[in-house]
């Protein structure tokens, strides 16, 4: 222990003041020097020296006062040195492996604890040499160990990553151990630091360690023999498109199972959708497996690539890898067939053509049978109507079929009506629009088609030409196709133009079984049962959707004098955009939208769940009450498959009220690893139970990942080589416990840095303020006073 003193300023004046002060000091000292040098012969030298000393003392006093000088006395202890021990706590340390096939497997964590216990003697020797042993655990971050854990290293290895480079770099940080020089680093690990590029990872690690300038001794805890199959990584896009082939590729790595056949499965929301057979090759050989899928519907899905577990596998946590794919609709393929050109066809074509997301294929019957023999056909631009190609061969390639005032019988389409029915059952969307031709020949009255339609078309239907304004039904008030009619001034159709044609249709007998709903009805016409005749009706047979419209005059909703706009949009556009979106189950058509900030999270990460509500005219809607819940996806899927099963218990739930911008959010924490579905529900506008999926419920899936990525590659060999290279590159020692190696008592240490007065550990400090109190001022006054007295006495100036 030594004592060191120093002067410390308490105040530093501004630059200008410093200059002025300096000038004054210089003048005072120069003057004193001149006075001393040119003193009179009668002035004793001793007296002149005293006068000069008094001047210097006065200047010093002024200096002390101006800079508030403090005299510091530090008791400094010499620097100590420390050894940083980094113990791996990542998930790969739980892997059981063995040095050979005859030996039973042991977990790497257990091997680490044994190696640390075996190094007790060495650790004692380090302490005797004055080394401080600083024990830390590392995974994705570094964690200080103390007490029993520092003595035994007994922890649960579950870290999701192994960032050894960051841990080594942080070893130099002596913020918590000031004055303790880093002498050595000891790493106990399996060396698997993650990443597919082993060489790059090793190079980076060695570079970081070399910059530290300290020997790194490594203890290798992995062993070459293990049994495991892993889905090492997956390559899949975030998005896929309905009816477009999407490719998912995975890499399978196995150990100890060479030659064995396995079946790799692709699952969607827990259900198998594909499989691929594979014969495993040698240890650590990466084998690709590919799946091609063509999603059949839009939505967000959790896909999973799964390999079957084998007895005795080192870990099952890497037997599957899940990922979220959002399936979007590519361009919507719409087939628009019209029986006759007219203004209604024109209006619908215009709006469909305007939508860049619509791929429109149109066939309009431009000539009647009476017209055929009249013309020189070379002058015509017409082509035959490819009935078989459209309704037999290519029908399934469309998303939406619109039969617009189309008489199926004369054009040989009646024989394909059952194909159209099947198309709808299998998920297609169909619109039937009336007029003078469409419902007039009974062509849509086959049993197969009639079982899908909300209206009865078994008999030809006549057309009424009296102008009318339709009536919005209770269901229509809530439905996304017609709910917008209540927007604006709320007068509904009263503010809109009259229609001038109406096909006198009735609801189908099976309408209830189909969940058929009338959204708009004729204001006065009723069927034989007294029910209002439907103008716009919808049904949802099988996996498809159907809209029937018993008029060919909706074009008037977009072409009228002083046309009322609803939230800035033409009523015609709102009606037909709503029809198309509902038919195609467009997520964005929903008045309730739900999102998470990411599709995939690590365990412990915060999950942001956000909702947005829209009015019927798709403007933000404030003060909407919502409920939300988060369910395990497996439980939700099982409940969906079993109608008798009870609602699965949510792991989280709550309530929201949207803000002025129609938004609400919540942060979820501490969800266990797994796939989840978040669901938000809004009550109907009249407070009744939900009556339509897109209006009242929104759903999102997300994944909380287990540390599978850390376990993607668990082969110890690359880790062993890496640790050996790390030790060799830094002058440390490579210790292999499996070969009997133990940590050395004479650990390789780095060269100590030279001690300087400003370094070392200050054990105690004493301060004496030279400027405080009257002392300095008294010294100043006495010094100047005495100098003046002596000068006067000896006649000096």
């Amino acid at each position: 222990m030594t004592e060191e003193w120093s002067l410390a300023p308490g105040h530093v004046p501004s630059a200008l003041m410093m200059v002025l002060f300096g000038l004054c000091v210089v003048v005072a000292l120069v003057e004193a020097g001149f006075a001393f040098a040119r003193r009179a012969a009668t002035v004793p030298r001793r007296t002149a020296l005293v006068v000069l000393a008094l001047r210097l003392l006065a200047v010093a006093a002024i200096f002390a006062i101006t800079f508030e000088l403090t005299l510091r006395f530090d008791r400094v202890a010499p620097d100590t040195r420390r050894v940083v021990v980094l113990a791996d706590r990542s998930a790969s340390m739980a892997i059981p492996d063995a040095p050979d096939r005859e030996t039973a497997t042991t977990s790497r964590q257990a091997r680490m604890e044994d190696a640390w216990a075996a190094a007790a003697e060495a650790r004692a020797a380090w302490r005797e040499d004055g080394l401080v042993v600083d024990v830390r655990g590392f995974d994705g971050a570094t964690h200080p160990y103390s007490g029993e854990i520092a003595e035994t290293l007994a922890t649960r290895p579950d870290g999701a990553a192994s960032d050894l480079a960051a841990a080594i770099a942080s070893a130099a940080d002596d913020g918590t151990h000031p004055g303790e020089q880093l002498a050595a680093v000891v790493v106990l690990s399996d060396g698997l630091v993650g990443g597919a590029d082993e060489d790059a990872a090793t190079k980076h690690l060695v570079d970081v360690a070399k910059r530290l300038g300290t020997p790194v001794t490594t203890v290798s805890l992995g062993a070459p023999i293990l049994k495991d199959i892993a889905v090492a990584d997956v390559r899949a896009g975030e998005f896929a498109f309905v009816e477009n082939v999407a490719e998912f590729e995975a890499t399978i790595i196995a150990h100890g199972l060479a030659g064995q056949p396995i079946t790799v499965e692709l699952r969607r929301n827990g259900e198998k959708v594909g499989e691929s057979a594979l014969r495993l090759r040698g240890d650590g050989v990466a084998q690709p497996v590919r799946f091609e899928v063509a999603p059949d519907r839009v939505g967000q899905f959790v896909y999973e690539i799964v390999v079957p577990p084998r007895d005795g596998e080192a870990t099952l946590l890497n037997n599957s890898r899940a990922f979220v794919v959002k399936v979007l609709r590519d361009k919507v393929r719409v087939l628009h067939v019209a029986g006759r050109p007219d203004w209604d066809v024109r209006a619908l074509r215009t709006i469909l053509r305007r939508d860049p997301n619509v791929e429109l294929l149109s066939y309009y019957i431009l000539r009647g049978f009476d017209d055929i023999a009249r013309e020189d056909t070379d002058a015509l631009s017409l082509i035959p109507f490819p009935v078989e190609e459209l309704f037999e061969q290519e029908l399934g390639s469309f998303d939406l079929v619109i039969l617009h005032n189309f008489d199926a019988v004369p054009h040989q389409v009646a024989q394909y009506v059952d194909n159209i029915a099947q198309f709808v059952e299998e998920g297609g969307a169909l619109v039937l629009i009336g007029g003078d031709l469409g419902f007039s020949d009974g062509g849509y009255g086959t049993p197969a088609m009639q079982s899908l339609l909300p209206i009865d078309l078994r008999r030809p239907v006549s057309v009424d030409r009296v102008r009318f304004r339709p009536k919005l039904t209770e269901a229509g008030r809530r439905h996304p196709i017609t709910g917008w009619l209540l927007a604006g001034d709320g007068r509904g159709w009263e503010a809109l133009p009259e229609l001038d044609t109406f096909n006198l249709v009735a609801l189908a007998d099976r309408s209830e079984a189909l969940s058929a709903t009338t959204l708009l009805a004729h204001p006065s016409a009723v069927d034989r049962q007294g029910r209002p005749r439907p103008l716009l009706a919808v049904s949802e047979p099988g996996r498809g959707r159907v809209v029937t419209l018993a008029t060919g005059s909706t074009w008037r909703l977009g072409f009228a004098p002083d046309l009322t706009l609803v939230d800035g949009a033409r009523p015609y556009d709102l009606l037909w955009l709503g029809v198309v979106r509902w038919l195609l189950r467009d997520d964005s058509s929903g008045r309730l939208q739900l999102e998470t900030d990411k599709p995939r999270y690590r365990e412990g990460e915060r999950i942001e769940l956000r909702a947005k509500t829209l009015t019927a005219a798709y403007a933000p809607e404030a003060d909407v009450a919502l409920t939300w819940r988060v369910l395990p996806l497996a439980a939700e899927t099982a409940a969906d498959a079993d109608a008798s099963a009870s609602e699965p218990n949510p792991v989280r739930k709550g309530e929201w009220t949207t803000d002025d911008l129609g938004r609400a959010e919540v942060t979820l924490q501490e969800l266990d690893a797994g796939a989840y579905a978040a669901v938000a529900v809004r009550a109907a506008d009249d407070g009744s139970a939900d009556s339509g999926e897109s209006v009242h419920e929104a759903r999102r899936v997300f994944i909380v990942e287990p540390p599978g990525r850390e376990l993607a590659r668990i082969d110890a060999d690359p880790g062993i080589a890496r640790l050996r290279e790390l030790a060799d590159a830094t002058g440390g020692v490579f210790v292999d416990p499996l070969a009997g190696g133990v940590l050395p008592t004479d650990l390789p240490l780095g060269e100590p840095k030279e001690h300087s007065p400003s370094q070392g550990r200050v054990q105690a400090r004493r301060e004496l303020a030279l400027w405080g109190g009257p002392g300095a001022l008294v010294v100043l006054v006495l010094a100047f006073g005495a100098e003046w007295f002596l000068r006067r006495r000896h006649g000096g100036t």
């Binding site: 009816e243 477009n244 082939v245 063509a294 059949d296 393929r333 006759r340 050109p341 007219d342 203004w343 066809v345 024109r346 209006a347 074509r349 215009t350 053509r353 305007r354 791929e359 429109l360 294929l361 149109s362 019957i365 431009l366 000539r367 009647g368 017209d371 009249r374 013309e375 070379d378 002058a379 015509l380 631009s381 082509i383 035959p384 109507f385 290519e394 399934g396 390639s397 008489d407 019988v409 004369p410 040989q412 198309f423 299998e426 998920g427 007029g435 003078d436 031709l437 007039s440 020949d441 009974g442 008999r459 030809p460 006549s462 030409r465 044609t501 074009w555 072409f559 004098p561 046309l563």
Partner: protein
Amino acid sequence: MLRRMSAAAGWVAAGLAIPARARASAAPSDPAPWLLPEDVPAISIDLPQLRYDGHWAPRPGAMRVLARELRLRTRLEPVAEPTTVEADDDALFDTPFLYVAGDEGLPKLGRGGEARLRQFLDLGGLAVFDAADGGTDLAFTRSVEDLLSRISPASELGPVARDHVLFRSFYLVDAPVGRTSTVDHLLAIQEEGRIKALLMRNDMGGALAETADGRVAHPCVPGGAEQRQWAIRLGVNVLLYATCTDYKADRAHVETLLRARRWR
């Protein structure tokens, strides 16, 4: 090219449809008594002509003839007697089509009339201006240009390209002839590919018009009867374009569209 595309006009539809129709009418025991399309009164469309203070009908009956030809040649069902309408009349919006003829400068239609016409075009209507002078006088043409510059100031009147779908919406028409063939092009205001207003300078109405006893009212120069046929065909094309817009432009891509995607 379009002619080649349509060369396979071996009327499969007709060939199949005629037996189908025969089957339908020869099947009295059918459980469902089918109504043939012609048994149900067709929903007609109007071809209204603008009525204004001036010589608004230089070719009387032209629209009646066009309506007849459309009924005979196409599946369109125009009314037998097209109506007339004034610019400031709400009835202007009964049909998104308007025929305007004249052989002298158009008079001012008044602020109300022009506002209605502007709304008519903006909401998707098609106005067809037909210069009865046949290209020999610019009074009507210039007045139409002035009118359009006021009611559709953001768009300019420009020539319609020869490959525009208007020339192949039903017939394959090479030249926009009318009673005359003086001007070899049509002028139009187009917006986002849609023709809002069309100016025909070769007197289409003159080619269509007939006397009371059904004879041609005005000989077509220089092509005579054949030129009249082409003028009628152009008129048919205009109405097929009015009702089907650019439908015929789809057809060029049909093969690609049909083979683009996988199955459901």
